[in-house]
Symmetry: C2
Subunit: 336 residues, 2 copies
């Protein structure tokens, strides 16, 4: 009986040991960031994640405090020749035009309808806000969601001729997965519209709506024909850009992230705030250096201008990602 009792236990233990060794060695050898070129940038990311997740490490951060906030336009997907949300707004103006005969002569709508983008943007911020109000306001949240969903299914990028949601960065998708696998909660913090980004964030990035921070309009609750609805109003609630990013993070997330990534001066304050203070912190800037595979732009770009943050990255300890040399592939469709 002794043989029968002890031997199976030994074999069980052996099997378990073999199994767990196999699992551990698999995970140790599989590269969680295969689209990132080996080198100092990738190493900096891995070193940071290792030190904050290693129990007993002086830099250990408990999982509930592992908050990562990542910009969207230019950081998770492309933003050239204009923020993709602007193309939605333009298409929406065209769709709504039959109900607004006055737009034929009223700027910035008249220029949009004539396909004159320069004229449409000539009104500066005031004109842009009018476009936002007309295309994103006075609509229920459900109608808006449906409209964006429909648009994303059919619209194609003007030069890449692909759906916008395919113009996401494969290395960043891997980074999001890698952070989550290491107990991070990943958030988008976008200058773009919060309701716009929420429509595709879960499917495309694995980030649920409740983990999206962005610019927003005010909203009003009302009961229409017995049905409760939320109406998006044509008034700005938050501009989640520049100094608005730390504010948006505070209002929606309520604590300071330890990992932040952006690509432009619009992310400066988020980087500055999140990487200041005690404890381990990681700031990352995606530098668009690849004119061949994506776009190359920084200091003088009207979209995604990267000037002050580029100057200060060194002294602030922010990690610069050189898209051309650090990324083996840019878009998921580049993968072989």
């Amino acid at each position: 009986m002794r043989f029968v009792n002890v031997f199976p236990r030994l074999v069980c233990a052996g099997l378990l040991l073999l199994l767990s060794t196999a699992l551990i060695s698999t995970s140790a050898h599989a590269d969680p960031l295969p689209s990132w070129q080996d080198g100092p940038t990738k190493q900096a990311i891995v070193d940071f994640v290792d030190k904050v997740t290693k129990k007993g490490s002086p830099d250990f951060v408990p999982p509930n405090e592992r908050i990562a906030t990542i910009d969207n336009d230019g950081t998770l997907w492309s933003e050239q020749p204009a923020y993709f949300q602007l193309f939605y707004a333009i298409d929406r103006v065209k769709e709504l035009a039959p109900k607004h005969p006055e737009w034929k002569t009223q700027e910035p709508f008249a220029s949009i309808l004539k396909g004159d983008m320069k004229g449409a943007l000539a009104g500066g911020e005031k004109g842009l806000l009018e476009i936002v109000a007309a295309t994103h306001g006075n609509i229920t949240t459900e109608e808006f969601n449906k409209s964006v969903k429909r648009w994303l299914k059919t619209a194609k990028h003007p030069t890449k001729k692909q759906p916008y949601t395919t113009l996401v960065f494969q290395p960043m998708l891997e980074l999001l997965d890698y952070l989550r696998a290491n107990g991070f909660k990943t958030f988008i913090v976008s200058g773009g519209g919060i309701d716009f980004v929420r429509v595709f964030s879960e499917e495309v990035y694995g980030i649920p709506p409740e983990q999206v921070v962005g610019s927003s309009l005010k909203a009003r609750y009302e009961v229409r024909d017995g049905k409760p609805v939320l109406v998006k109003l044509p008034d700005i609630y938050l501009i989640d850009d520049k100094e608005g990013k730390p504010v948006g993070i505070h209002q929606i997330i309520g604590r300071k992230p330890i990992f932040v990534a952006g690509n432009s001066d619009g992310d400066y304050q988020m980087l500055e705030w999140a990487t200041a203070g005690d404890g381990p912190r990681f700031g990352m800037i995606v530098h668009h250096t690849d004119a061949e595979r994506e776009w190359a732009y920084d200091r003088n770009s009207p979209i995604g201008k990267l000037n002050k943050a580029l100057d200060d990255a060194g002294k602030k300890g922010w990690t610069l990602v050189d898209m051309k040399s650090d990324w083996k592939v840019v878009f998921p469709s580049d993968k072989q």
Copy 2:
């Protein structure tokens, strides 16, 4: 060799089977809501959770859509004889008074400093907003967090003589755990201050700051002596009460909850919005009926008035929790 190879496997399989059977039967027999009296209220909660979590059920809801939003004052902890946050504000007025000699003659501060609560509240909403601005505004978010933390450690309820965070409802703590164990993401949606509730929500309710919705002040980002800070401004950003609750949920969570709980007419619109529409939805109202163990109040209470929601609960299909008969214990300290 055949015996040696096959026998241990059989024993392993047997051990695993025994182990998993033991685990399953433990979880089937352990009551996840031990402080709830058996009866129709408890059964309604369990039935709802069962049907939305059972794969193949026509009412199955995928985990990412299992959003629960729960009011705080009067639903997760007590709210009598006044919202606990008001006691914080009063103590803060007293603490700040030496720096504000003008408060000796200026209402509502003069009355607060004299201990005259009736006089302090005589100014109505305007007076309340002045108290909020003076005690919650013009302070960095870090200073505010520290101040609330310090207060919660030392302050005691005026009649119960216990720390405020002990006056939470044991059955509701169990309900939060039960929902989370069934894949729900639990959120607080409070008329109280978002930054106030976030200070203790994680420790007391297991709800992290990023899952708290509440009333808020505007905030401003600035760099003070080289240190980036967020300053709470003395201006209202959102009143997360009544029709503000669906708005707050939309702005911060970005999708409609399927499980909602409240206790007053301040929760009416949240209940109405969340329980309207397709698919399984659960609305719950905690009715304060227990003058002996807690407080008994509803239609005419100045705090936590429950009138219209009580009238409409039946026709809207909301489940009324009768605190006196449905809860075996009220506070954790009541447990034997």
